[in-house]
């Protein structure tokens, strides 16, 4: 039986004026039909850092993440504000396709297109009007290098992406996202379907990528969160309970529910 924790007692950090923020949400609520899945999430994400969202399954962390680039459109109702470059992007008149170009996303299961490796990366670029061959080739190389996949596939760019291993596929998906030159990268448990070696590779890639991108990653793996993130938010039953620097989260959690979760009492 899961202990009852008070949702009143939370420890959520805010940032001062000097911190550059990538994204910030105010009173974000998510409803699946009648089902209230996310309550008043107020979180701000610093630029060029990795922020991890942790919590048990069903805690709402993925739901929250998918709201940030409006991937919940048509699936759930999202209310509240999402600030991005001073614009509330959770409004009707906003161009969701532009948003998703700036806020990229990588999913739990690798989902490369059933196309060649090269085509996986250039397809969306071309759809966005980038036509010059040399430029496209440049982007392919840059993004594959960025995702630490280049050396493994550079000779086989015309091979089907489906012939890659799971870990390679996931790095291809990361490459595909960063080829769009986003400034925020959302990752939804990107390593849950991968073996340990591939996981290490992806983590190294992310640590490298934070120099250029702001990264928000959902993970159910606490070790992973402590290895790569600078900030860490803990979700519980649709509430953000604690949001502190990662070091604090794992050495000195502020409230009972986080303490119990970190200690492994549930989840």
């Amino acid at each position: 039986m899961l202990k009852q924790y008070s949702f009143e007692k939370t420890a959520v950090q805010t940032f001062d004026d000097k911190t550059s923020l990538a994204i910030k949400t105010e009173d974000l609520q998510v409803f699946y039909g009648q089902n209230h899945a996310m309550f008043d999430a107020n979180l701000a994400f610093p630029k060029n850092q990795i922020t991890a969202l942790i919590g048990a399954s069903g805690s709402g962390k993925s739901t929250y993440l998918r709201s940030l680039n409006r991937m919940n459109d048509g699936i759930a109702t999202v209310t509240g504000k999402i600030w991005y470059h001073g614009v509330n992007i959770n409004e009707p008149g906003v161009n969701i396709y532009e948003i998703r170009r700036h806020i990229g996303m990588v999913f739990q299961r690798p989902n490369p297109f059933a196309k060649s490796i090269r085509e996986n990366i250039v397809y969306a670029l071309r759809a966005n009007g980038l036509k010059k061959k040399a430029e496209l080739e440049e982007r392919v190389e840059q993004s594959l290098k960025g995702a630490a996949l280049w050396d493994e596939v550079k000779d086989n760019l015309d091979k089907s992406a489906l012939s890659l291993s799971g870990g390679q596929q996931q790095r291809l998906c990361i490459a595909r996202s960063i080829a769009m030159a986003p400034d925020v990268l959302l990752l939804d448990e990107p390593c849950s379907a991968l073996d340990p070696i591939s996981t290490v590779k992806v983590e190294e890639t992310l640590l490298e990528l934070q120099k250029k991108y702001s990264i928000i990653i959902v993970t159910h793996n606490m070790q992973q969160a402590s290895r790569i993130s600078s900030q860490c938010a803990f979700f519980h039953l649709g509430h953000v309970m604690e949001y502190v620097p990662t070091g604090t989260m794992f050495s000195n959690p502020q409230i009972p529910v986080t303490q119990d979760y970190i200690a492994g009492s549930f989840g």
Binding site: N69, M71, Y97, E98, I99, R100, R101, G104, M105, V106, F107, R109, N111, P112, F113, A114, K115, Y123, A124, A127, N128, D158, K159, S160, L162, S163, C173, R176, S177, M180
Partner: protein, 295 residues
């Protein structure tokens, strides 16, 4: 003991049933091929029909069948594709969608003779286009749309959600995602469905008797200007197809060798349909390999 005996009897009975079903098919195929193939010759396949008796070759009918098939597919594939995409991607789960689905179901369950009569009423009686290739092609489109739409919707919906999410997360529009990402993956299933439906369209007669008509005026195969009255491509000329020809020869024909003629024409029709079936299978497998594995 009793239960075991019943079990044995039931098994024997079922074996007999299966044997007779297989026997029926083989009898059908063997009958048509043995009765028909000896009469199939190059001159039969390309020759002209005697307008009065219905005797002679089936050249024009064969051409008409293919021409109607091509026209029908040209009209029905794009519409079904759009409708299939609507159902797979845009339709919300509400009463309007279920009404649309019921309408499609009703259309698919209508007897083809009713569809043909509707075409007759619309094109021949109301619009006064007369028995023509185009009337026939549109009637066949009506008959083809619901099945093709359902096939396309199913093929599109079978593609994993994660592929859609991948496209959308890169800022591609829903439409672009559907056309550029999902459609290629769904293509093997769609192509199989299209070719199978082509086989059905090719053999359809009831919907055509009163739309494309029952006469095959001799056409000038040297004249490919669709505007000319004698051109085989003229969409406004009446066009008896092979299937209609078989029916016509058997019911109203005066040819002395009607049985041999229709056996031969049936053999040609069956072989064409078999080829469509086989083609659907091979093409589907081939495309599936192309899409999923490496080159």
């Amino acid at each position: 003991m009793n239960a075991k005996r019943t079990d044995l009897l039931a098994t024997i009975l079922i074996d007999l049933i299966v044997a007779s079903v297989v026997g029926i098919l083989f009898f059908l195929l063997a009958y048509i091929l043995t009765a028909g193939l000896p009469h199939v010759s190059w001159s039969f396949l390309t020759g002209a029909t005697d307008a009065f008796s219905g005797a002679g070759g089936i050249g024009v009918q064969l051409f008409n069948s293919f021409y109607l098939l091509v026209l029908t597919m040209l009209i029905s594939v794009p519409i079904s594709l759009g409708a299939g995409i609507y159902l797979a991607e845009y339709a919300k789960d509400n009463w309007r969608t279920s009404l649309i689905r019921s309408a499609i179901e009703v259309l698919s369950s209508l007897p083809s003779v009713v569809v043909g009569l509707f075409g007759f009423l619309l094109f021949v009686v109301k619009f006064k286009i007369g028995f023509s290739v185009i009337s026939g092609a549109i009637a066949l489109t009506f008959f083809n749309l619901p099945l093709l739409t359902r096939n396309i919707e199913e093929s599109l919906s079978a593609v994993s959600r994660s592929q859609r999410e991948a496209g959308l997360s890169l800022g591609l529009s829903k439409w672009k995602t559907e056309i550029g990402i999902i459609l290629p993956v769904a293509l093997p299933g769609i192509v199989t469905g299209i070719v199978l439906s082509a086989g059905r369209v090719f053999g359809e007669a009831a919907a055509l008797i009163y739309t494309a008509g029952q006469s095959a005026p001799v056409t000038n195969f040297a004249d490919w200007n669709p505007m000319d009255a004698a051109s085989p491509l003229n969409p406004l000329r009446p066009a008896e197809t092979l299937a209609v020809h078989i029916w016509k020869v058997n019911t109203e024909g005066l040819a002395s060798n009607a049985a041999a003629l229709s056996a031969a024409a049936s053999a040609v029709l069956i072989i064409a349909v078999l080829l469509f079936n086989l083609g659907a299978r091979l093409l589907g497998t081939y495309l599936y390999r192309r899409v999923t594995a490496s080159k």
